[in-house]
Every structure is written in C-alpha cells, then in structure tokens.
C-alpha cells in the first residue's frame, strides 16, 4: 500500500510504544557481552585499552568486575563469547576471554599501588567465610577494604577451591592462582587452612562473627550405582582430579573410560593422557548436540587424541577378580524433533574393555555440617533456601554464594554471587535491608569530536578471529603442569582487539531532530534502520528493511517523527556501531554516545556514578 499522508498520520490502534532508553537495562543489553557476563565486565572498554597497549589499565578494569582476570582469562566459561555480536555479523565472536588473559600476561609489575588496600582502621565487624573458593574470596575482596575483619576457613591445605583442586594445572598454572589469591589475602584477610567447619550451630554459638558467608561449593561428585561399582579402579571424577592436584595420584592404567561428557570429563580425559594412559574414551549417552562441555574443551580434548563416543548408555561394570576390566553399554538410537529427543531405543549391547573408569556425571551440593535446626531453611530437595537477589538465607546473618547457593555453575557466577552477597552483608551490618539495594545505572557521553571524527575507532576491521597458539602435542605431555595455551602475542592481541565492534558506543536518537531524509537508512551497512509506519510489533518487524528474525534482540522504537508521524525503528541485532548513521545525519538526530554501566558492589557508597545522567561532550 502506498503511504498516503492521511494513512501515515493516523496512529494505528496497536501501535508500538517508544522505547524507554532511560531504563538502564536498554543500553546495557545492547552491549551483548557485558549483558551476558554475570559480573558485567566492561568488555569493550578493556578491549579498547588493550588496543592502546594499556594492559595494566585493562587488567584493573577487569579486576573491578571479575576479581580474577588472569584466572578467568584462561578458564572462564565465557558466556560473553556466544553472546558477542561479532559472532552474528560473521561467524566467530571476538576472543574476549583470550584478550583478558593478554591484559593479565602483559600488565607488568607496577600495579601494586593501584590494587585495593587494607583499610587504615577496621570497623569492628567480623565476617566468617566458609571455604576458600572464588565466591568466598570475592566476599573478602569486597568487604576487607571497607574495614571488615574477614576470616576464611578452608578444609584443604591451600586456597582456591575447585580452581586449585580440580582445574588441572595445564589449563591454569599455580602461579596465576597464587598471585591473584595473594592480592586478596594481602588485604588483611585471615585464612585458616586445614580448618574444616563441621558444625554451623557451633560456629554460630561461639558468637565470634557478625555474619557468615557459606562458600563451600558443591563438593560431592555424583555416583553411578550400577552392578560392580564397588571395584577399586572406579573413581569419582572430582575426587580423582583433587588427588592428582595434591600429588596423591600420579599414574593411571593404559585404557581409561570416562563416563559423562561435561567439563569435568574433559579435565579427566586430558589429565589421564598426561598420567600414562594410551587410550582414553569419553563415553556419552546422547548425541553431540546434547554435550555439556564447551566446544573449545571438546576441541582441545580431541586434538589430544581423546576419543569421544556418542550414544552409549552404561549398564554395568564388568569385573574380574574384584577389578573392573570393562564396561557394558547399551547402544542407543534417538529420534529428534528439533533439539528435543522424542523417542529412544536400544540398538544393541557392547562391552568395552578398560583398565580404569572415571565417573564424571555431575556434582551435588552437600551440607552435612549444617544442622537442620540452625535456622537455615532447606527446601524439599535439601537445598538451602537462598534469596536470588540478596543471597541471604532464611537466617538473616547467614549468606550463601557460588556453587553452594545454586548448585554447580562456574567461577564467574561464583564471583558475582560473592559481590552481591558482600553488598547484602554490608547493608545488613549497616542496619539496612539487603533487598533495598542500589540498582544499576548507565551514563552516556558523546563520542563526537568533529565533523567526521569520533573518539573511538569506528571503522570495521575485516579480520578473522586470531588462533590461540598451543604447545606442541609432543611437548605438552611431558609434565602435567605445562600450560597448553601460550597466550596471544601483543601483535595478535592488537589485531584481535580491532574485531570488537564497540557495542557500548550507542546510537542515541533524538526524534524531534529527524527530517526523514533517509540518509541514515541508506548508509547503514547492515540495514538496521527503517522509518516505518507504526503498528503492532509483528507488523513493524515485517516492515523492516532486513529481516529481524531474532525476537530476543530488542527493537528500538522512536517517538513519532515530526513530518509524517512514522517511527524510526532500529533492530539492534547486527548494528556494527560504526557511526555511519550519525555521520550521515544532517541534523545530528543520531549521535554516538558511550554508555558506561555502573553495577553496584559493596563499595557503592564510595563510587561516584550517578543514575543515568546524560553528558554530551
């Protein structure tokens, strides 16, 4: 239909509302990586700092959000990468995680005086953290500088939690762990090693602490109760990795079967290859699309000649003289409907011989040391009832975080739980309600410098993702502690950094200025923009210049435009943040403005961010 003037002016009944960009979540969400990161690390900003060679600044910016950039730059689960817009524009996301490591590797030695410091005076309040994993360490990191006396109790002889006991040193060197944990301990945190807490009630009764943070993880590996399980050469994955980490186990049989195909399985199989195994098979019950392990971990394992066997469901251990000599499996077939299994059948039965079996089928949290009458309520699955916002338990002075709070997740979630629990503890001990906490805010500031000059590098770099260099297959098996990934060189880092699209440099639109000349629409390389007649969301989506097939990606909708009453619509999905729209706009209706997210931590009172103010340079 032609857009006649009358047709344009009459607002259709089911019209879309103009987007409320004052809601900090709008621009935050546009920064896909930062939105996906549980701690909301300012990824584009640290990548720009790396591009400028400011590695120490990049490191410190990371640390402010994720506390362990050196560790996470190696082993983070990196939910940011599948979210990265570059991965939708091309097929590979920016190597966000590897760039984090670059910041840690190249930061140099001069940052000591820029790290948080022990306070001059304590505030008289004492906190106990149970377990020295990343969750507890984050609580200590946030609260110690505020004057709290923090004591960490750890049952093992070294701090770090699963990062030390389960993540193998060929992925995460001890020296990196020691350095980043050391910074926290240097804040005057008291660490008690070999100090298991075996009764919460007793700890509470002693009255030594004003608040308790439970960061004890999900320490129990799941068992597989099949006939023959009692044999000595069947191991539980996380226990076995722990005994390797502490040097109690130094060898393994030649033929190893790993049951399960999650991240623990990946570490078990690669560790086995380093302890003398000749053939390692990872046995998966389902097809590849159902694997829990990350793609890169699967790739790394297969590169090391680990065999991954799909569609095998274990049915029994085969014993000979009390030792396992093989395992029986049902070979399965599945009917899929999209990504869902709708039917399954057993095709036949096979026995696979082996010398050792490692079970890597998941973890559970277990709290044998928390008396059920201590005031902390447990739900019907015997999990502690924890507020998802405040991490407070039903007992106001007891908080949970990390794997202990919500079951096994990963380090970066443990860190975020730690930040939020610390904020709650600080509020609680200041006499405030933890639920009544400060919220995120976004600050905008224009990047315009001149007619064609922006205070960021806005041209699109047509570069492919850099490949991570690895130690040769021959070298890496010589010692378990040889780190496989070598890290990017400064040159690789500089190139990879250019792939970032600067998604935090937002396209900010002022409807009253638009004269509907179409310049922005015609120049946009990825056809994000449309001036459309308003309607329901489905109607508006159908009117866009290029299909907007991903409903999870927001549409920006402007107020009605002056001349025709139509609306400016932007599909955020593929925007390159190239600034061409702003550059071609004759009236500066579009501007490129950097958004800075303020995500409150326990120190919110001392930081200077105000809620979504606008500043134009």
């Amino acid at each position: 239909m032609p857009e006649t003037k009358a047709g344009l002016r009459a607002a259709p009944p089911a019209a879309m509302q103009a987007t409320d960009t004052a809601d900090p979540r709008y621009y935050h969400r546009v920064v896909d990586c930062q939105w996906a990161c549980p701690t909301h690390t300012d990824v584009p900003e640290y990548i720009r700092l790396i591009a400028q060679g400011r590695f120490a600044d990049a490191y410190l910016l990371n640390r402010a959000s994720n506390v362990f950039p050196g560790i996470l730059g190696r082993v983070c689960d990196r939910p940011c990468e599948p979210a990265c817009r570059r991965g939708r524009v091309e097929d590979k996301p920016v190597a966000i995680c590897r760039l984090k490591r670059v910041a840690a590797d190249l930061k140099g030695t001069g940052i000591a005086d820029r790290l948080p410091k022990a306070p001059a005076r304590l505030n008289g309040k004492r906190i106990a953290c149970i377990g020295a994993g990343p969750a507890s360490l984050t609580v200590a990191n946030d609260l110690a500088p505020l004057g709290y006396a923090v004591t960490i109790f750890e049952r093992h002889g070294a701090p770090g939690g699963l990062m030390r006991t389960n993540i193998p040193s060929f992925r995460l060197p001890q020296s990196v762990l020691d350095e980043e944990i050391g910074v926290i301990l240097d804040l005057g945190v008291s660490l008690k090693l070999g100090a298991p807490i075996d009764s919460l009630s007793r700890l509470l009764a002693e009255g030594r602490f004003d608040a308790i943070f439970v960061g004890s993880g999900a320490p129990k590996g799941k068992d597989l109760p099949l006939p023959g399980r009692q044999a000595a050469n069947v191991h539980i994955g996380i226990d076995w990795l722990e005994s390797v980490a502490f040097g109690h186990t130094g060898s393994i049989g030649e033929r190893v079967l790993i049951i399960g195909v999650g991240n623990t399985a990946m570490d078990c199989c690669r560790t086995s290859m380093r302890l003398g195994a000749k053939s390692v098979k990872v046995m998966a019950r389902k097809p590849r699309s159902f694997f829990k392990a990350s793609d890169w971990e699967l790739e790394d394992a297969e590169e090391e000649r680990v065999e991954i066997v799909v569609n095998h469901a274990p049915t029994a251990f085969v014993l000979d003289a009390g030792r396992v000599v093989g395992m029986r499996f049902n070979r399965m077939e599945y009917d899929l409907d999209g990504t869902r299994i709708v039917a399954e059948r057993v095709v036949d039965e096979v026995t696979i011989p082996c010398d050792e079996v490692i079970l890597a089928i998941g973890q559970e949290n277990a709290f044998p040391w928390i008396e059920r009458d201590a005031g902390v309520e447990f739900d019907r699955w015997d999990r502690p009832v924890v507020d998802p916002l405040t991490f407070q338990s039903t007992r106001p002075d007891v908080f949970f975080g990390g794997d202990a709070a919500q079951g096994p997740k990963n380090i970066i979630w443990a860190v975020e739980h730690g930040h939020q629990a610390a904020l709650s503890i600080h509020a609680y001990l200041s006499g405030l309600a933890p639920a009544d906490r400060p919220r995120e805010a976004v600050r905008l500031s224009s990047r315009k410098m001149g007619l064609h000059e922006w205070a960021y590098k806005n041209d699109y770099a047509p570069l492919e993702r850099r490949l991570m260099p690895h130690v040769s297959l021959k070298e890496r098996f010589k010692k378990i502690s040889i780190e496989v990934e070598l890290g990017f060189t400064p040159e690789q880092a500089a190139q990879e950094a250019q792939r970032c699209l600067n998604c935090d440099v937002q396209t900010v639109f002022e409807a009253p200025q638009c004269i509907e000349c179409d310049a922005c629409i015609d120049i946009c390389p990825v056809d994000c923009l449309t001036i459309a007649t308003n309607g329901s969301e489905a109607e508006v989506r159908a009117r866009l210049r290029a299909p907007a097939l991903d409903p999870s990606q927001p549409l920006f909708v402007s107020a009605p435009l002056k001349q025709t009453g139509r609306i400016m619509v932007k599909d955020e999905n593929l925007c390159l943040h190239c600034g061409l729209c702003a550059e071609r706009c004759p009236t500066a209706a579009w501007d490129m403005q950097k958004s800075t997210l303020h995500w409150p931590h326990a120190d919110y009172g001392s930081s200077t961010c105000h809620s979504h103010e606008r500043k134009t340079a």
Partner: protein, 351 residues
C-alpha cells in the same frame, strides 16, 4: 561526506534476486554529497530498483552531466558502464551510445540546472527522438554544486537561503515532456521510496523515453523555511494522483485491488504496471487530462506526483530510424564498413 567507507560486511539474511545478488551488490563508490542530500536517497532507490529488477550491472549504462546530482552515477552500480558528460550534454552522449548499442539499459541522472538551463535543448530533442532510456531529474530548485543559485525550476516566491525571492516563472519538466509527446512521465519525491522504487522499476522496462522528475531537497542550500523544495514543504504539498505498482513478467498480481480505480498497463516485455488512481476521473493515458490536472493543482500550490502520463504506442528511436536489431559492435566489420565501392554506389543513387 563520509571519510570512512561503508564496510563490505552485510546483513546475512538480505534477500537475493534471481541473479543471486543482494542490493549491496548494486552499490557504487561512497557518496561525497552533503549528509542528508535527497540525491543520495534517489541513489538508494535506483540501487533497490535495479536489484529488484535483477538487471545485470554490466548491461547498464549510467549517464550524467554536471552537478551534485550528476555526480551520483558514481554512487550506484560500480559494475556498470558510465559517462559523465559536460554540462547539459548528457542526452547527446546517450543518443550516441544508444544508437551504437540498443541492447543496453540506459539510466541518465541529471539535475534541474543541468536539464532545464544549459541542457534544455538537448533534453527536448531526446524526448522527441523517444530515446529508449530512463531520464531522472534530481530536482532541488537550485544549482547545488555551485552553491545554491536559483535554477530554472524554482517556483515564483520561493526564498533562497539568504532571503532573496525568485520572481521568474519555473519550467516544469513534467508538463514540458508531456507536451513534447513523452510516453512515460512521472513525478516523485526522494523521501518516498515506496512510490519512487516501483516507478523506477517500471521506467526501466518501458520502451522509449521515461522521465522521472524527483523532488530532491538540497539540505545545504534549499531546505529552509520559505523554500518550496524542502523536505517539510514537499511532504506537506505533494499529492499522489496515480500510484504505480510494478509487476514483473510472469508474476502474479499479489495485491488485491478492490476499489475499481485500478488499471493495468502491459509493457512490451510482458511486465505490467498496476495504476491506482486517487481520483477515478484521472486518465493517465490522456496527455490533455494529465496536463489539466497538473495545472489545476499547481494553481492551488499543490504538486501532483505518481505516474502522471503513460502511453504505449510511440515508436522509439530505433523504430523511427529503421536501425538493425544487432548492436554495432556485433555486426561484422565488412557489413559495418562495406568499403569504397559500396559508398560510390550509394552516392550514385542520389545523382
């Protein structure tokens, strides 16, 4: 203008035409015009129309004169042939090229200055000869390139940026073309691609001279209060008389035209134009009716747009000249240049 070039990267789900190309494949060099210029929008409409018609870029010849508008042939179809002539001389270059090779698609882009002042004579004769081409006037009422003097299309009473008022009557290329017997005459607005793109698609398939006069605001020198070529003025004062939907050969007419005011015109290649008339009495095939309506509206300060006149009977330049079907470059040299004896025989026949 933009210093950074538009990156090659494109939306992965862009639709492809019958040649497997996306509209990005029909782009040209970066525009160096002022940001917001109507001309850039017309460039985008030409790109869209060529893509939608699935023309092969190398079968297109882009022709222009001098002016901001005439620069724009560089900004679309980098795979096409092109010729920037001197000021106002595009029609003669087009005539020569078309005489030599009738199989190519000729798109001429000119300005109101280039066409209606220095090039007025050439423009009229191209129409008379019924040159098979699309002739686009990017009409901003000023000489943009030379910094905004009134052009011959400026309306009486229109104000220049510095305040002086135009007192000479305008030349309206649409009325002129209809009087000269042009068979496809349309007017549109750079800010209305929903109207312009189908017009361009139909014009490219029309056999003979197709004029589209496109109101195209000059953001720098003629987009102010008091101008009759500003974005705001054009939107406020234009009224679509006949909307043309282009329906390619062998495609179904998808839209349901219930109101009876729709009329179908079949073009030489079998494609069709469905005309939707706002006023049922308007007959676009009758030049007299068209001129009447245009003038009536003009007296009320309104500008009629759309496909204002279409005729299908006029013979084009090749029919008039009885030229061979084959382009000259495909005719064997001996036939093209039959030698001295043949020339003598021809001369003999005139004695």
């Amino acid at each position: 203008m933009t210093f950074m070039s538009k990156p090659k990267v494109a939306h992965p789900d862009l639709p492809r035409n019958a040649l497997g190309l996306t509209r990005r494949d029909y782009e040209g060099a970066n525009s160096t015009l002022c940001a917001g210029c109507g001309h850039d929008s017309i460039t985008a409409a030409i790109i869209e129309a060529c893509w939608a018609n699935a023309v092969e870029p190398h079968t297109v010849v882009k022709l222009s004169g001098i002016g901001c508008s005439s620069k724009t042939t560089a900004y679309f179809l980098s795979g096409a042939h092109g010729f920037n002539s001197v000021h106002g001389r595009m029609p003669s270059i087009a005539t020569g090229a078309n005489a030599a090779n009738r199989t190519l698609n000729y798109i001429g882009v000119s300005g109101d200055g280039d066409t209606l002042s220095i090039g007025l004579g050439q423009f009229c004769h191209a129409i008379r000869r019924n040159l098979n081409m699309v002739y686009i006037i990017e009409n901003n009422g000023v000489y943009g390139l030379t910094k905004g003097q009134f052009s011959a299309s400026a309306d009486i009473g229109s104000k220049a940026k510095r305040g002086e008022v135009n007192r000479q009557p305008p030349i309206d290329p649409v009325q002129l073309a209809i009087t000269l017997g042009a068979s496809f005459v349309a007017r549109s607005f750079s800010g209305d691609k929903a109207q312009l793109v189908p017009l361009l698609r139909a014009a490219m398939r029309h056999n003979g001279f197709a004029l589209i006069d496109v109101i195209s605001p000059c953001v720098t020198f003629n987009d102010h209060e008091g101008s009759t070529r500003s974005y705001a003025y054009a939107r406020e004062h234009s009224e679509e008389a006949v909307h043309a939907d282009f329906v390619p050969f062998a495609s179904e007419i998808a839209v349901d035209y219930a109101d009876g005011a729709a009329q179908t015109v079949t073009l030489h290649d079998g494609s069709r134009i469905v005309l939707r008339k706002v006023d049922a009495d308007y007959d676009p095939s009758d030049p007299g009716v068209a001129l009447d309506a245009i003038q009536q509206r003009m007296r009320r300060g309104e500008v009629l747009t759309g496909l204002l006149h279409i005729g299908q009977d006029a013979e084009d330049i090749h029919a008039l000249g009885a030229t061979p079907d084959t382009p000259l470059n495909a005719i064997a040299y001996e036939s093209l240049s039959p030698g001295g004896d043949a020339l003598r025989r021809v001369l003999e026949s005139f004695r």
